[in-house]
Amino acid sequence: MAAEVVAAVITDLEVMKASQIGMKAIAASFAIVGTAFAAAWAEMAIGSAAVGATAENKDIFGLVLLLTVIPETIVIFGLVVALLLIF
């Protein structure tokens, strides 16, 4: 009897552990999805403006390339959070 109870508790614990890992993975994916979407959205606006500006004046290509990658910080923060969640 006691052995069965112990076995049941152990199985429950394993299930809980597994579901915790799963929840962590889902949370990490949310972190990436949200921030990646935000970064993409921001880069969309900056990128189109940057191309327009470069068409007017080629010399500012270096600067606008830089402005375009600035929102990538958002997705990098997302990645940091995701990595911290998993590892």
Partner: protein
């Protein structure tokens, strides 16, 4: 090294008859950055006006325009040409007078003829388009015209229509349109028009010329073919002329440009009566040689004096870096050239940029690939900027190899030696074992780099403000930057004293002294309070920026993030190519198996080529961004004017 080259302001005064020798000597020395004279608004220059060009300026300008127009036809870019032989100035001058008009005429004739032929081709093509719909109707074109009692209508309709009698109708149906020709007595014209309008009729002009439409079309086609043949011959002739004269043309452009510059230089000087005044900048160590050379050129009939440099003078900026840091000047100019008064961080960027690149793309395989690519491209990328870019990339790829050894990575595979930096090897693939990447270690490494880099930026800012500002503003600015450093390190002490963190000092175990706080936390709190006061004293609005101490330090975690993504792509490519496609087939080789193996090799090559390209973008752009956004915003203003001395570096000619 950390400051731009010292400059001196020179004032040159002489009588107008010395203008030519002075200008010539300044041009030859290639040291004098002319400060253009503007008539209005210059103190002490009342009554002065700008000078007049030297004699012969107009003729030389005309020749230069001619040479450039020929170069334009041939699409010759002097920057892309290699110097094979340097021509002598005097020889070239006589050749220009003799040959340039002839070459100009020949090229002009040929391009004019080519233009005419091009127009003929277009015209014939238009005529073919106009007549093509009539080709299907077996009627000679002259039969469409010249009737008194009949009207001929031709055009496109959306569908077949029943034209009321009496009328002769020819309907041609094709995939894209329906063409109709109607011949009707003049009395019935209105009825026919009405029916046609219902079918969205669009009229086309009746064909000109005589004969069958197809014969006319063939005639035009023959004209087009012969025009194309002639254009081809002209192009060949032009290529021959280009091959024969391109070196001569770039040499011509060089000496004519030099002569135009010389002749027009007085337009940048101030003149009054029989005297002219030129102001400009010369590197401090070159002042004496320039003075001596001018005195020699004019026989001592010139007055040259150094003027004190004012605080707000627009001093031109010339970099002063050791050879290894020079290519990095390209990255500085992309952002902005440093101001004369501020510290020039080029040398720091030239050291730190490759390190960041290496930390991101730390892989022996990719490093070697990039290095080979850089060395190979050196032959093809001409021009100073291209060479600078390749030199920067070369340094970055060497650093990538170095860090690849430390990370123990080769195209995503582990190398036989142990890793010396925190591991980035991921567990990818069905049989992957091992303890995976050391994320906390990598993160802490990146954040430590960030803290040190930002502290360095703030320290340079202290030096800049101490050099540039005056009075109470200087003290406030310097203290504000000290405040920022205190904020960073105060926060760190506070964190260390509360939470034990990997790869950081653990001060949480120390006994509490006051209110449950231990000594490091008290130090941290004190630093924070002092820091905030220092920052607020300069500008209270800066308080809003306080969170940036965390966001900027965390931003350095991109070194890990971008690097890990590169490793992940490499390992996935390896797993798909080798683990899934090649390895299972090697056990029992069949014909299908060989196809799979070839596919595997393709995936391997394509995957790694793509990842190398991504690596350059990721590694390069993110390292650059860390400099421009996180580092430069702490201390760097930029906006310096480029030092461009009067004169020309001769590439194709010599005196």
């Amino acid at each position: 090294m950390l400051t731009p080259r010292q400059m001196c302001r020179l004032l040159i005064v002489a009588s107008k008859d010395q203008l030519a020798p002075v200008v010539k000597e300044l041009y030859r020395s290639h040291m004098f950055h002319i400060e253009d004279f503007v008539v209005e608004g210059r103190e002490g220059y009342d009554g002065f006006s700008i000078g007049t060009p030297l004699t012969g300026a107009t003729e030389v300008s005309t020749d230069l325009v001619k040479v450039r127009s020929i170069e334009n036809v041939f699409q010759i870019q002097p920057a892309d040409m290699e110097t094979t032989v340097k021509r002598r100035h005097a020889d070239l001058k006589s050749v220009i007078e003799r040959e340039l008009p002839a070459i100009g005429r020949e090229v002009e004739d040929l391009t004019g003829r080519r233009l005419k032929l091009g127009a003929t081709v277009k015209e014939c093509e238009q005529k073919i388009t106009d007549i093509a719909p009539f080709a299907a109707i077996p009627v000679e074109t002259e039969l469409y015209r010249g009737y008194e009692r009949f009207t001929v209508i031709a055009g496109y309709v959306s569908k077949d229509v029943a034209v009321p009698e009496p009328a002769e109708v020819h309907f041609t149906k094709s995939k894209s349109s329906n063409f109709i020709v109607v011949v009707t007595p003049n009395d019935h014209r209105s009825d026919v028009d009405r029916v046609l309008q219902e079918a969205n009729f669009q009229a086309v002009p009746l064909p000109a010329g005589t004969g069958m439409p197809q014969v006319i079309i063939d005639g035009y086609r023959d004209q087009i073919t012969s025009a194309h043949r002639e254009i081809g011959e002209i192009n060949q002739k032009l290529t021959e002329i280009k091959g024969r004269h391109s070196e001569f043309l770039v040499a011509c452009e060089e000496i004519l440009k030099a002569e135009v510059d010389l002749a027009e230089a007085p337009l940048r000087f101030a003149t009054i009566g029989q005297t002219f005044v030129a102001e400009g900048w010369v590197p401090s160590d070159k002042v004496e040689p320039v003075k001596e050379a001018l005195a020699k050129a004019t026989g001592g009939n010139v007055f040259v004096d150094e003027i004190a440099v004012g605080e707000h003078d627009p001093v031109p900026v010339e970099y002063n870096n050791p050879p290894f840091a020079r290519p990095t000047q390209l990255l500085m100019d992309t952002y902005s050239r440093p101001k004369y008064t501020e510290l020039d961080p080029t040398i720091l960027v030239s050291i730190v940029f490759p390190i960041f690149f290496g930390l991101i793309l730390g892989d022996v395989g990719y490093g070697v690939l990039l290095l080979v690519m850089c060395l190979g491209l050196r032959k093809f990328l001409k021009g100073e900027e291209g060479q600078q870019l390749l030199a920067v990339l070369r340094n970055a790829s060497i650093s990538s190899i170095f860090f690849g050894v430390l990370y123990s990575e080769f195209l995503g595979f582990p190398c036989p030696w142990p890793y010396l930096l925190p591991s980035r090897h991921l567990n990818i693939g069905a049989h992957a074992t091992g303890h995976g990447p050391n994320i906390p270690g990598l993160m802490m490494m990146a954040i430590w780099i960030g803290i040190v880099h930002i502290t360095l930026g703030r320290t340079i800012s202290i030096a800049n403000h101490a050099r540039q500002d005056h009075g109470s503003h200087r003290i406030k600015s310097v203290l504000a930057n000290v405040g920022w450093i205190l904020m960073i390190w105060g926060s760190l002490f506070l964190i260390w004293s509360m939470v034990p963190m990997p790869y950081m000092p653990d001060l949480s175990g120390l006994p509490p002294v006051v209110l449950g706080l231990n000594v490091p936390s008290l130090i941290g709190i004190a630093a924070l309070v002092v820091g905030i006061i220092c920052i607020a004293r300069e500008s209270a609005l800066e308080i809003v920026e306080l969170p940036t101490i965390f966001s900027h330090a965390l931003s350095y975690s991109r070194i890990v993030a971008v690097g890990l993504s590169s490793v992940a792509i490499a390992m996935v490519v390896n797993y798909i190519a080798i683990g899934m496609l090649i390895e299972p087939q090697l056990e029992n080789i069949t014909l299908v198996g060989v196809i799979f193996i070839i596919m595997g090799v393709m995936v391997f090559l394509l995957g790694h080529v793509m990842n190398t390209a991504l690596g350059i973008l990721g590694g390069g752009l993110h390292s650059l961004r860390l400099h421009y956004v996180e580092f430069f915003t702490k201390f760097y203003k930029g906006g310096g004017k480029k030092y461009s001395p009067f004169g020309l570096t001769r590439r194709f000619t010599e005196d």
